[in-house]
């Protein structure tokens, strides 16, 4: 079991480090590279979510990549279906730009929402959401890329660079009421060469809200490293989990061996 109070800097006061699979959703169906052997329907978000919960995922993130106007309605139905079955917390992201979107998701059973481009275009959204639903409900997702010695915030799934510096934006978002940061390093994303520990460590030291590391997970060691070197609160990955390259029980056993607190 977890030793309490002996490793304050690493344990964040007793909390377990969270492992978060991320699922892309389109038109209410999960897409992209899901390769579980015993799934009857790899596109069914409910079944997939239940599978991850069973494996020991601490939380799930669903990213809606639907582009159509019908998106909101489909998403709400999916969120309700997930909330009926899932016994761990989950976050919904993608295309949330107003209070009404967030409220509908909350009432459908989502524990948190993640906002990205809409918050950059309208920072007031962070404050409004935090006031309406509490800071714990508001995750700020930031896609960042290292350009000419600076870390720049990117929008629209990374396609659009802004002049915003990542450090400044995250600090400002925390002050506005963001409850958690989901930081994706575009330089590391898809490389499977490990998380951007230097940047994550830097950001983590600047803020007093939880931070989720994203981008670059390829091997179990990468998770050990990001928790040890950057002290992040959670680590998120998609393909390594979906393709079964890393199994969550194996990952957690390995983290435990390194005295990183996990929920087993």
């Amino acid at each position: 079991m977890i030793k309490q109070s002996t490793k304050l800097p690493l344990t964040s006061g007793g909390l377990s480090k969270r492992i978060i699979p991320c699922l892309d959703v389109k038109d209410g169906r999960t897409v992209k590279g899901v390769n579980f052997v015993d799934l009857r329907d790899a596109g069914d978000p409910v079944e997939l979510a239940a599978q991850y919960a069973q494996q020991g995922a601490d939380e799930l993130v669903f990213l809606d990549i639907t582009a159509t106007h019908e998106r909101r309605k489909t998403m709400i139905e999916m969120v309700k279906a997930v909330a009926r079955q899932l016994n761990i917390p989950f976050t919904i992201g993608g295309g949330i730009s107003e209070i009404a979107d967030a409220e509908a998701l909350l009432n459908a059973g989502a524990d948190k929402i993640s906002i990205n481009s809409a918050a950059v275009r309208n920072p007031q959204l962070i404050e409004d959401l935090a006031k309406a639903f509490g800071v714990q409900f508001v995750v700020l997702a930031v896609d960042t890329k290292h350009i000419d010695g600076k870390n720049r915030v990117h929008l629209n799934g990374g396609r659009l660079m802004t002049e915003l510096e990542t450090e400044d934006w995250i600090k400002r978002a925390e002050n506005l009421g963001a409850g958690e940061i989901l930081l994706t390093s575009m330089d590391h994303d898809g490389t499977k060469q490990g998380f951007d520990c230097d940047l994550l460590d830097k950001i983590n030291k600047m803020i007093n809200i939880p931070i989720i590391a994203s981008g670059g997970a390829g091997k179990i060691e990468h998770f050990t490293t990001v928790f040890q070197q950057a002290g992040v609160d959670a680590a998120l990955a998609a393909s390594v989990f979906h393709y079964g390259e890393i199994l969550i029980p194996d990952l957690k056993q390995e983290l435990k061996k390194h005295d990183i607190p996990v929920r087993l």
Binding site: S5, G13, G14, L15, R18, I88, G109, Q136, P210
Partner: protein
């Protein structure tokens, strides 16, 4: 059957979903008259304790809730409402359990809110029956209930030791979210529903 106090403090979809998964029957308590039809009562709650108390007062049920003799379970802010006072909004609460709800001290070097899975150290109590020792539950909160050996039935460490669950007579409270705490949380809800009325 469980009655859920319906006073508009946060969304209860996840709670009702968890009860349905456990095949525990439930209904909504909208006014004092509804209280009598249920054997067990849950007070849910998310958000600001002061605001939640204000909303509860508006239902006109405060006196009747305090007089209940059947098992009552407060969850998260619903647990905090059982205490005498909260630093959140300097609010006077139900005062069923003479304890104080306090804000986490930033100087302890911890992130606030306390969000995630933490190990709950529970005592021998029917609420935790068949929950393995060392089990972790899911917490999301910025205010906590001070540890008190008389009323504490489960404690947790985050910056300091505080109450994860309390009990006074038929009134129970849990700071974590059983409806989001995996199988152990579902077990706890089942245990509550099995408490003798």
């Amino acid at each position: 059957m469980i009655g859920i106090i319906n006073y508009g403090a946060g969304n209860i979809f996840s709670l009702t979903a968890a009860l349905e998964r456990q095949q525990i029957a439930y209904g909504m308590v909208n006014s004092e008259a509804d209280l009598a039809q249920y054997t067990h009562i849950i007070i849910p709650g998310v958000g600001h304790a002061g605001t939640a108390m204000h909303k509860l007062e508006q239902t006109g049920m405060v006196k009747a809730i305090k007089a209940l003799r059947k098992p009552v379970l407060g969850i998260c802010v619903g647990m905090q409402l059982l205490t005498a006072h909260s630093e959140e909004g300097d609010a006077k609460l139900l005062d069923i359990v003479p304890l104080e709800t306090k804000l986490f001290d930033k100087n302890l070097g911890i992130k606030i809110p306390h969000m995630g899975w933490n190990t709950v150290d529970f005592k021998n109590n029917l609420l935790f029956e068949n929950v393995p020792s060392g089990t972790q539950f899911y917490f999301v909160h910025s205010y906590f209930i001070e540890y008190n050996p008389i009323f504490d039935i489960a404690s947790v460490n985050y910056g300091n030791k505080f109450s994860a669950a309390i009990q006074k007579d038929n009134f129970f409270g849990v700071q974590f979210h059983p409806e989001k705490s995996g199988e152990a949380g579902e077990r706890l809800l089942k245990n509550f529903s099995n408490l003798r009325s």
